[in-house]
C-alpha cells in the first residue's frame, strides 16, 4: 500500500476480456506486477468485484465489439488477452484487436477441434500465444505420472533440468540431515531450492536441517534427479496404469499423452454420449460409463489395484473427496484437479498428494509471456517461470544477453537478496549446479528460485 513497496516500473497496457476464473487470476497477478489493466466483461457484478479489489479499470460490454475495444483503449494497448468461456469469442476478440490496434494478442482456445490446428490459427491470425489450460494441466499431470514419487515436476533448460517437489516421509534418511551433510554424503549435483514446513516457505541455507514432513523442491538434471531419488529410497518407475475419473477435455488430452507411452488408461465418465465420443477419439483406452463417485463401481473397476488415479471431474469437492477415499483404499499415486476453490492452506493440510490448478497454470504461462515482453526492450529475457509451493515462491529462468553487475563475479561475492538462490546455470548445452565459486557469464541461462515476487530482470537478484 502507501509507500510500502517500491514504485513499480512502468507497466504494459493490457486489456483482459472475460473475468472468469482465469481472467480474475490474471488480473490479480498482473495488477500486482504493476501493469495498467482494463477488464472487459458483460457481467457488471463481476466487474465491480474486481475493480473494488484491484487497481484496474472495468468496462462493461462485449469484448469483441470494436467500439468497446476502442473505449478500453485498444489503439494504445500493448497486449490483448481473451479468456472468455467461448473459444470463438476469444479468437474474434483477438482478430478485432489485431486489426484495430497494434497490440499482441493472446487467446484461450480449449476445444480439441481447434487445438489440433493451433499452429495454423496462430500463424494466420497473428496471435502471440494460444493457451489451452486443459492441455497444459494434462501435460503437468502426465509429467507427474512419469515420475510418480514427485508431487510436482517442472522442466527447465530446454527440458534438460527439472525442478522436482517431494515430501520427506517418516524414517527417510533425509530426516534430520542438514543440507551441507546432504551435499557431502549423497550428492553434490542436486540443490534444494525451497522448503516448506508448517505452511511456511523458505529458501534454505546449508545449515538448514531437513525433517520428515517437509516439502522440498530440488533442481537437478533429469538423470541425476532419478539417481538421487532412488538413493534416498524413492521409487522412480513411471506408472503402468491410470484411472481417470471424469472424461472432460483435460482427461482426453491426458489419456492421449499416457497412451502414447504405453500406460494403460481407464476413464470413468457419467455421460453416455461423452463416453461414446471418447471411445472414438481414444480407441486404446477403456471407457467406463458410470458415476465416478460410486464406491461400488470404483471397486468393481479395481480402484485398489490401479497404479494411479487422477480426479478430473468438473466439481472440486468431488475431486477432493475421491482422492481422500482412494488414499484410504489403495497405494495409488493420486492427482487432484482443483479449478475454482481458493482455500489453499486447507487443501495443503489435507495432504492430497499432487494437486493441479488449471487456472494458475494458464495465468503462469501468460505472466511469463508478459514479463518476457516487458523485458524485450532490455537485454534480459525470461525464458520460463514457474510458481512453486502454491505461488509462494517463484522459479524463474533468465537468459543473460549482456555484461551487467551480476556477470563475471563469483556468486559468493554477489550481494544477493535474502530468500533467493541461484539454483542452476545452463551453459554450452550443459546444466551445472552452481557453488559459491561459479560465475554467471553472458550467454548463460540462469535459474533463480525466490520467495520474492515480480522479479523482472536478472539484476533484480541483487540487493
Amino acid at each position: 500500500m502507501l509507500g510500502i513497496q517500491k514504485e513499480a516500473p512502468k507497466g504494459l497496457k493490457i486489456i483482459i476480456v472475460g473475468c472468469g476464473k482465469v481472467g480474475s487470476t490474471l488480473v490479480e497477478q498482473l495488477a500486482r506486477e504493476g501493469h495498467d489493466i482494463t477488464v472487459v466483461d458483460k457481467r457488471t457484478d463481476k466487474l465491480q468485484e474486481l475493480t473494488a479489489q484491484y487497481d484496474v479499470m472495468g468496462i462493461e460490454g462485449n469484448g469483441a465489439s470494436y467500439s468497446i475495444q476502442k473505449e478500453a483503449g485498444v489503439d494504445k494497448a500493448d497486449l490483448m488477452i481473451a479468456v472468455t468461456d467461448s473459444d470463438e469469442l476469444n479468437l474474434l476478440c483477438c482478430t478485432v484487436a489485431k486489426r484495430s490496434g497494434n497490440c499482441a494478442a493472446i487467446a484461450r482456445v480449449r476445444t480439441p477441434d481447434y487445438s489440433r490446428e493451433i499452429g495454423y490459427l496462430r500463424e494466420k491470425l497473428g496471435l502471440a500465444m494460444v493457451i489451452n489450460p486443459e492441455l497444459e494441466s494434462a501435460s503437468e499431470a502426465a509429467r507427474i505420472l512419469f515420475l510418480p514419487t514427485a508431487l510436482e515436476v517442472d522442466s527447465f533448460a530446454h527440458g534438460q533440468a527439472e525442478l522436482i517437489k517431494i515430501k520427506i516421509p517418516e524414517g527417510n534418511i533425509l530426516d534430520g540431515m542438514t543440507l551441507a551433510e546432504l551435499g557431502r554424503r549423497i550428492s553434490q549435483d542436486i540443490l534444494i531450492c525451497a522448503a516448506e514446513r508448517d505452511g511456511h516457505v523458505t529458501i534454505p541455507r546449508g545449515s538448514f536441517t531437513l525433517r520428515a514432513g517437509d516439502m522440498i523442491s530440488f533442481s537437478a538434471t533429469r538423470s541425476v534427479a532419478k539417481q538421487f531419488l532412488s538413493d534416498i529410497g524413492f521409487k522412480t518407475d513411471q506408472v503402468r496404469s491410470t484411472m481417470i475419473i471424469g472424461g472432460g477435455k483435460s482427461a482426453y488430452y491426458l489419456a492421449q499423452q499416457l497412451l502414447n507411452v504405453g500406460i494403460a488408461v481407464k476413464i470413468i465418465e457419467i455421460n453416455r454420449a461423452r463416453c461414446e465420443e471418447l471411445s472414438v477419439l481414444l480407441p486404446k483406452a477403456v471407457i467406463i460409463n458410470g458415476d465416478g463417485t460410486d464406491e461400488g463401481l470404483l471397486r468393481e473397476e479395481g480402484i485398489d489395484r490401479v497404479d494411479s488415479v487422477v480426479a478430473l471431474t468438473g466439481i472440486d469437492e468431488e475431486n477432493i473427496l475421491l482422492t481422500l477415499y482412494v488414499k484410504r483404499v489403495s497405494q495409488a499415486k493420486l492427482i487432484t484437479k482443483i479449478n475454482r476453490i481458493t482455500f489453499r492452506e486447507v487443501i495443503t493440510n489435507l495432504d492430497l498428494g499432487s494437486v493441479i490448478y488449471p487456472k494458475y497454470i494458464t495465468a503462469e504461462a501468460i505472466v511469463r509471456y508478459v514479463r518476457g515482453k516487458k523485458n524485450s526492450m532490455d537485454n534480459n529475457n525470461i525464458e520460463s517461470l514457474y510458481h512453486i509451493f502454491e505461488q509462494r515462491a517463484e522459479a524463474i529462468e533468465f537468459h543473460i544477453d549482456g555484461v551487467s553487475d551480476v556477470t563475471g563475479r563469483p556468486l559468493m561475492e554477489l550481494p544477493l537478496k535474502d530468500e533467493l538462490l541461484v539454483s542452476s546455470i545452463y551453459r554450452d548445452g550443459k546444466v551445472r549446479i552452481p557453488s559459491g565459486q561459479d560465475v554467471i557469464l553472458p550467454g548463460d541461462t540462469v535459474m533463480i528460485v525466490t520467495t520474492h515476487t515480480g522479479l523482472n530482470d536478472i539484476r533484480d537478484i541483487l540487493i
Binding site: 500500500m1 502507501l2 509507500g3 513499480a8 495488477a31 487497481d55 484496474v56
Partner: protein, 490 residues
C-alpha cells in the same frame, strides 16, 4: 478494522499539511509579517508528527471501503484541527471555534467567513485561507494518491470516499495515474486563470488568492466586498472559470485525448450548461431595472449564477437586496450544485438528472404497469443499485438538512437566515441571505449553530456517508475492540 493503515494515512495527511504551511511562511518573510512564525510553529510539529506516524509501516494493507470512509473523514477533521491553529494562536481569530469554522470553511471550499473585516487580516492568513480552498477542492487524499508511491488496489476506496458525485469512474486503469491526471488538469487550469487575471492588471497577491478560491470553488475573498471592486474584465474571467471548475473533469481529459465528440456529448455537462443558461436569463430579466444598463445586469447575473451553482460564493453585488425571484433562483441553484467529478459542491447535477429520470420512469410504470424500461445516462443503462443509492442519498440529504435547519433556528433568528445558512454551508457555497448574506458574515451566530454548520460543511464536502459512518456503532466497536485485543496481547 485496519487501524494501522488508517494511522499511516493520517500520518501522510499531517506531513502534507506541514508542507502546505511552508509557502505561507515564505509569504510572511516577503511581507515581513510576524504571524508567519505561528505557521512555522504549526508546520514543524505536524511534519515531525507525520514523519513519526509514517515511519512504522502498517502491519496489514488490507483496506476496504469502510476503512476508506473512516480515514477520509478523520483526515479532513485532522486537517481542519491543525489548520486552524495558526489563525487561533496568532490571535487573528481569537476564538477557537471561530478559527476552526474558518478553516473547515476553507478546506471544504465553502468560503463562509466569520471574520467581520477581511482587510484587517494579515497576508499570511489570507493566503492560508485561499490555499486551503485550493487543496480542499480536488481533495487532499487524491493528492496523496497522486504523489505517494503505492501498490495494491484498494486505494479506489479512498478516492471513492473523497470525490464528489454518485459514482467515481477512473480515467485510466490505475488510481495513481487517474489522480495525477486530475491534478495536472487542475494545476493547468489554475495557472491559466492566474495568467488571465494578471493580464487584467490584478495585483499578484490578489490574483493568487482569487485564483485559488475559484479553482477550489471556495469563495474566500480578500476584501469585504468580495469581487465588486475589481474591473469588469476580471469579473468575467472569474465567472467563466468558476463554471469551468464546476464541470466534470472527465470532459477535459476527453478533450486532451482529442475525443471532442465524446466530450461534448456528456449528458451531465449539457444539463449543467442548460441550467446555467436558464438561470442567467431569469436573473438578468429580473434585475435589469436595478442595474446600470443591460451589460451591467448581464455581468452581475452571470457572475452570481456561476458563483452559486459552482458552489464558489464570490459576490459582485449584494444579492440579498435583489428582487425575490432572483433570490429564489439563487437559493435553488445552491441545491443543484456543480457536476460530479468537479471541485464544486451541492447535490450535483448528475444526481438531479438521475432523480428526474427515475421520476419519469415511475410515471411510465403507472401508465403501463407491465412495461420494462431501463433508465439511461450517457447512452448507457443505469443499474438499479445506482438509482436506489441516489434516492437514498437524496433522502439522507433532506433529513440532515431538516435537522440542521431546526438546530440553527434555535437561536431565534428569522427562518430565511437559518435556511440559507444551512443551504450555503451544507452545499459548500458560502454566503446565504439576510443575516448571513454576502455583505454580512457568520460571526454573529451562536456557538451551537457554528458547530452544526461546521459538521454540515464537512458532511457536504464528503457527501454525507463517510462523515456519518464515523457515528455508526459498528465502527466504534471495531475500533475499541482492536485496541482491547492489543492490550490483551501485551
Amino acid at each position: 478494522m485496519n487501524r494501522s493503515m488508517i494511522r499511516y494515512i493520517l500520518g501522510m495527511v499531517l506531513a502534507v499539511e506541514g508542507l502546505l504551511l511552508l509557502p505561507v511562511c515564505l509569504a510572511a518573510l516577503y511581507y515581513h509579517e510576524r504571524e508567519g512564525l505561528y505557521y512555522l510553529w504549526t508546520a514543524i510539529p505536524s511534519l515531525a508528527a507525520g514523519a513519526l506516524l509514517v515511519r512504522k509501516k502498517p502491519e496489514s494493507t488490507v483496506f476496504y471501503l469502510k476503512e476508506g470512509c473512516v480515514s477520509t473523514a478523520l483526515s479532513w477533521i485532522l486537517l481542519s484541527l491543525i489548520g486552524c491553529l495558526p489563525l487561533w494562536i496568532s490571535g487573528e481569530i481569537p476564538s477557537f471555534s471561530d478559527a476552526l469554522f474558518e478553516t473547515i470553511s476553507g478546506f471544504t471550499t465553502t468560503g463562509a467567513s466569520v471574520v467581520p473585516s477581511v482587510e484587517a487580516l494579515s497576508h499570511c492568513a489570507l493566503l492560508w485561507r485561499s490555499l486551503t480552498h485550493w487543496i480542499g477542492g480536488m481533495g487532499v487524499l487524491v493528492f496523496l494518491l497522486a504523489v505517494v508511491p503505492m501498490s495494491g488496489g484498494s486505494h479506489m476506496n479512498l478516492m471513492r470516499a473523497e470525490s464528489p458525485g454518485p459514482s467515481v469512474g477512473k480515467l485510466v486503469p490505475r488510481v495513481k495515474s487517474t489522480a495525477r491526471i486530475l491534478y495536472l488538469i487542475y494545476i493547468g487550469m489554475t495557472l491559466l486563470e492566474l495568467i488571465l487575471l494578471k493580464l487584467g492588471r490584478m495585483p499578484t497577491f490578489d490574483a493568487v488568492c482569487i485564483t485559488m478560491g475559484t479553482a477550489g470553488t471556495g469563495g474566500f475573498g480578500i476584501k469585504s466586498d468580495s469581487l465588486a471592486s475589481y474591473s469588469v474584465y476580471i469579473q468575467w474571467v472569474v465567472s467563466i472559470f468558476m463554471l469551468l471548475f464546476a464541470i466534470n473533469f472527465n470532459l477535459y481529459y476527453l478533450l486532451l485525448l482529442k475525443r471532442v465528440k465524446d466530450a461534448l456529448s456528456m449528458e451531465e455537462v449539457r444539463h449543467f450548461l442548460g441550467i446555467v443558461g436558464a438561470a442567467v436569463l431569469v436573473v438578468f430579466v429580473d434585475i435589469l431595472h436595478h442595474c446600470a444598463g443591460a451589460f451591467d445586469a448581464l455581468t452581475k447575473a452571470l457572475f452570481q449564477v456561476s458563483s452559486i451553482i459552482s458552489s464558489t460564493g464570490f459576490a459582485t453585488a449584494d444579492f440579498n437586496l435583489w428582487p425575490p425571484v432572483s433570490r429564489c433562483v439563487l437559493v435553488l441553484l445552491m441545491f443543484v450544485g456543480a457536476c460530479a467529478g468537479s471541485t464544486g459542491g451541492g447535490i450535483k447535477v448528475s444526481r438531479i438528472v438521475i432523480l428526474l429520470k427515475a421520476i419519469s420512469k415511475e410515471f411510465h410504470s403507472y401508465i403501463h404497469p407491465h412495461s420494462v424500461r431501463r433508465v439511461k445516462m450517457d447512452g448507457k443503462p443505469l443499474d438499479d443499485y445506482m438509482l436506489r443509492s441516489t434516492g437514498v442519498y437524496f433522502a439522507t440529504y433532506m433529513l440532515m438538512f431538516a435537522a440542521s435547519f431546526f438546530l440553527v433556528t434555535l437561536e431565534g433568528r428569522d427562518a430565511v437566515t437559518g435556511f440559507t445558512a444551512v443551504a450555503a454551508t451544507f452545499n459548500n457555497i458560502g454566503p446565504g441571505l439576510e443575516a448571513v448574506g454576502p455583505a454580512a458574515n457568520y460571526g454573529g451566530l451562536s456557538l451551537l449553530s457554528k458547530w452544526v454548520l461546521m459538521f454540515d460543511m464537512l458532511a457536504g464536502r464528503l457527501e454525507i456517508f463517510p462523515m456519518l459512518i464515523l457515528f455508526h456503532p459498528t465502527i466504534w466497536k471495531e475500533a475499541l475492540e482492536s485496541r482491547r485485543k492489543r492490550l490483551k496481547k501485551q
